[in-house]
Amino acid sequence: MTSAALLDQDFGSESEDDNFNPAPADDSDNDAAGESDNEVTERPRTNGSEQTRRSTRDEGRNEDDQGDTSARPKEQHSNGRSGGIGGAAEDDDAVGEDDDDIKANGAGEDDEDDEEDEEDEDDEDEEVSGRPRKRARRDPRNQFLDVEAEVDEEDEGDEEDDEGQADPFIADTHPDDLADLPVGAETDDRRHRELDRQRELDQQLDAEKQAQRLKERYGRSRTTATDAVVVPKRLLLPSVEDPSIWGVRCKPGKEREVVFAIMKRVEERVMTRNPLPIISAFERGGTMMGYVYVEARKQADIFTALDGLSNVYPRTKIVLVAIKEMPDLLRVTKSQQLQPGGYVRLKRGKYAGDLAQIDDVETNGLEASLRIVPRLDYGLNEDTNAPMIDNGVKGDAQKRKRQGGLGLVNPAARPPQRLFSDVEAKKKHSKYLQAMSTFDKKHWTYLGETYINGFLIKDFKFQYLITENVNPTLEEVTKFTAGAEDGTENLDLTALAASLKNSTASDSYLPGDMVEVYEGEQQGVCGKAVSVRGDIVTVSVTDGELRGQSIEVPVKGLRKRFSEGDHVKVIGGSRFRDEVGMVVRIKDDRVTILSDLSMQEITVFSKDLREASDSGVAGGLGLYDIHDLVQLDPATVGCVTKVDRESLRVLDQNGSIRSVIPSQISNKIERRRHAVATDRNGSEIRYDDTVREVGGEQKQGVIIHIYRSFLFLHNREQTENSGIFVVRATNVATVAAKGGRVTQGGSNGPDLTKMNPAMQRNGGANGNSAMPPPKSFGRDRAVGQTVTIRRGPYKGLLGIVKDTTDSEARVELHTKGRTITVAKDTLGFKDPLTGQSIDYQRFAGGRGRGGGGRGGFGGATPSRVPEWSGGRTPTAAAAGGRTPGWGAASRTPAWSGGAQSGRTPTWKQDTMSGGRTPAYGADGGRTVNPYADGNRTAYGGAGGRTPAWDPGARTSYGNPSSDAFSAGSKTPYGDFGGSKTPAYNSDTTFGGSRTPAYTSSYNDSWASNNRPYDAPTPGKDLNTAPTPSNGYTAATPAGAAPTPKFSGYGADAPTPGGAPTPYSGQPETPAWGGDDGPRYEDGTPSP
């Protein structure tokens, strides 16, 4: 123990050496292994690890150290050694290897200043503690001594420190190593540091790059591996010399088992005295069920090999395979490569037809573990399905098996696909439910099956899977994309694409498609599909070296090529089918397009797209198109906002969205082009006007439909409902009307209504220039009359007018004994004279004038009409239409009253402008006077009402009866100004009694009156040719006679004689004459 203590002390004194190099502990081992240069370079790494290991070890040791030194025999031993050698080392400096040592140390210190400093410090410490500096002078011979053991408490700290600081000693070479080095070997640590740097660099490279680099360096490319040896195939074909192959019957479905059994037997006997004499055994799986094939020299060998194996029947018929057919037996049908993440369908069972995702593929190539969306009812149909759940009863289990095996899945009993819910399961089946892991709540076992994250995970044999033409739809696939935490779907489109590619959808390519080859030799070639035959597409290359050539490419390696901005249509089976949009982004074979209609972005495979024409929004192909207005029920209409394949989305007038199928729509409302509504400001709005909502969101849009008071507007910037919304017409204000209707107002552009006389006349009906309808005053004569109803539901019925208003009459029907209200127009009155049925107008107005007279009138009119209108136009143009006539009529009294003579000149002046005025002027004061007087007189006679009457009378004529009439009625008007009015007045007021008046007083007056009248006309003649001529021609019908008279007239009065003649000649004319005349006559005499 004492010696141990002593050594301990010694150990303490020597301990600094550890500082110098902790590595030597291993050196002895290394030495034993025979160190080489190589190992020197490897050194830093091993050293590092050793150091750490050792330091921990030492720590443990030092704890022991305190109390019990005997526990460390090794150290003692080593201490002893090191102690001894330590001195020796100091003595023998001159050994050649020592130089190396020094050199190495020197180099190390030069290179690493920091380390050097530390070392220096250490050295100083050492010096302070009075110990000589030994490191540099260590004897190379101490390689035989285990210096490493010189460790004590202090050193631990140092060592650890050193560990922390960039391994100051790694670079150093222990003298022991140096001793091992062959002479002249590189002893400095340059290469160590190089390696260090290298590693550092490697660390800096990110993992990915590193992986790639490693792969480049060490990865074995498959192509080189496969056809390393090329042997002509025909040499490999079997010949007569080769062993024969026999087909042996076995139990169908057990082929593989049998082969494995044979295999096992072969292995068992391979090293024994009697190995199996067969060469190979194999089976053909599904194609040759019930056979295993054994290759052997003799048939007898087969019997020995198969004897005693179950499921195989070598004693039955054994088939020798002909040599020719042998290669066929070995022909490999490339098995479907199933990749985890891909999609398959199940052939049978509860999930028959369901899509499943491959979770994992078993290495034996027989089974795959699938993820399936479970169809569970959680025991809700317990009674009916009881046997399915109860695993304990065998009979039931068998029953279930049969059920499943036959694939009889009762659709009614088949629960819908839903993710597994433990909550549901706990309700009735909590005893069958087990949580598999406590950490992850989403892993359950339920009824013996595993559910992870809601999916059923189950192993299936390949033969129960459909792996080709899976055609997963996006809907199905989205069920597998369990929404991520943030609700986004992480759809693995690549896996989907891979599954889809398996389906040979040859119809997805059509001649004319731009395609790109992305697989195979022609990778990267672009071209236009010329023809498609099955899976082969002939492509005419459009650019690159092969330009102009046609190449044939399998569909598999093709994809359609689009560029951003292309206008495309979705044609494939995705749910976006028939959407049209513009390509926004292309990534691999996924294309994002911006839908034209919904303004939303959708992502589809390029194979599902086809170039669309640049124009036109192709909506549905059916009866209804987007933006159509459709009738949903008698009270509801809606605007189609989206056309799906089977249904339409409709925004109805109340603003709610409905999804309807076409059969729910009663009909389509054709757009009425002239529909008009008024906005809140009262301005009219039509289709294609832009309006803005006044309240609310102030949405703005273009009117696409007007339905009663609802407007359907379209706004491109709105995404919902493809930009359509509905507002009330009273809630919008016009922003811009098509064609600038609103701004047009009255400023620019001709307004037809103002320009066109025809329109003016018609338009006059509701304009302010309209003449009021003729009014009868006093008792309506219709009252009490027996009338027939000429139109409407009561047509043909007889009744008595009980009461009337302006436009309507209450008629007591004879037949039905009740009183109805009908429009007066529809009544037929019995003419008291002729007994004919006449309408109200005639009845009320024509009576006084003498119904018979009319006919003649009509006869005369036609000839006059044109002339009249012609005659009047100038006046209209010059003096403002008929009004002057009125004005003249009404004003004349004033004039006459005010300043007769004074007026005349002004009139004359007017002559220049007006057609008629000249006549006055020409006639001179006289004409005017009588005229004016006549007017006045008439007024006087008839009262103030008369003028009002005039127009009224005329209008009524003009409107309801006939043009001829109106023209005729106007004729006097134009001609005589107010002259006719009194006539009418008298008509109505006097009734039939007037005629005598005409004859008596008027005739005289006519003579005088008409002359002045006619007189102006010639005057007109003189001034402006047309007017008089018109006037004359107008008169002409009255008879041929007047005309000559007129001619004579021009000069003097004789005309009067002529004038009466026509009147007398024509029954009607007198009325006229009477009409016109009376006034004038009245007037004329008075002056």
Binding site: E564, M582, G749
Partner: protein
Amino acid sequence: MFFLYELERVISLHPSFFGPRVKEYLTNRLLEDVEGTCTGQYYIICVMDAYDISEGRVIPGSAVAEYTVHYRAVVWRPFKGETVDAIVSSVNRMGVFADVGPLPVFVSYHLIPSDIKWDPNATPPQYTDNGDQVIEKGTHLRIKLMGTRSDVGNMFAIGSIKEDFLGTL
């Protein structure tokens, strides 16, 4: 791109316009009808002159007369690949709508540089790179047209600002 383009239009005129100023009416009508419209292919910006007005032909059965007017107009036709300046009209999560004169252009967020991000919390919502580039309503943008679509009476385009020298001005 702007073009001076020769076009023709058939104008029918009500008889009430027949008269000495018929040409004036025709020209007025032409300007009213045509200026500022879109044919689906291009926009007619401005009618320069109506250089040839045919004789009127009265349509049998109606009194309306037809005139064929040949005129020169400045038209603007947007092309795929053309770079245009636009004013942003609205901004949403999917991208930016901008107006190039009469033409609405949509710039999808796919076609916006990835450093310019959608910021729905800003008022108004905007695309921004948190630097000097802010795209909101009213921003002036330089856009490259990626594709155009023409409907009957209007056009639409999508654009990109994901290239050098494009983006905010």
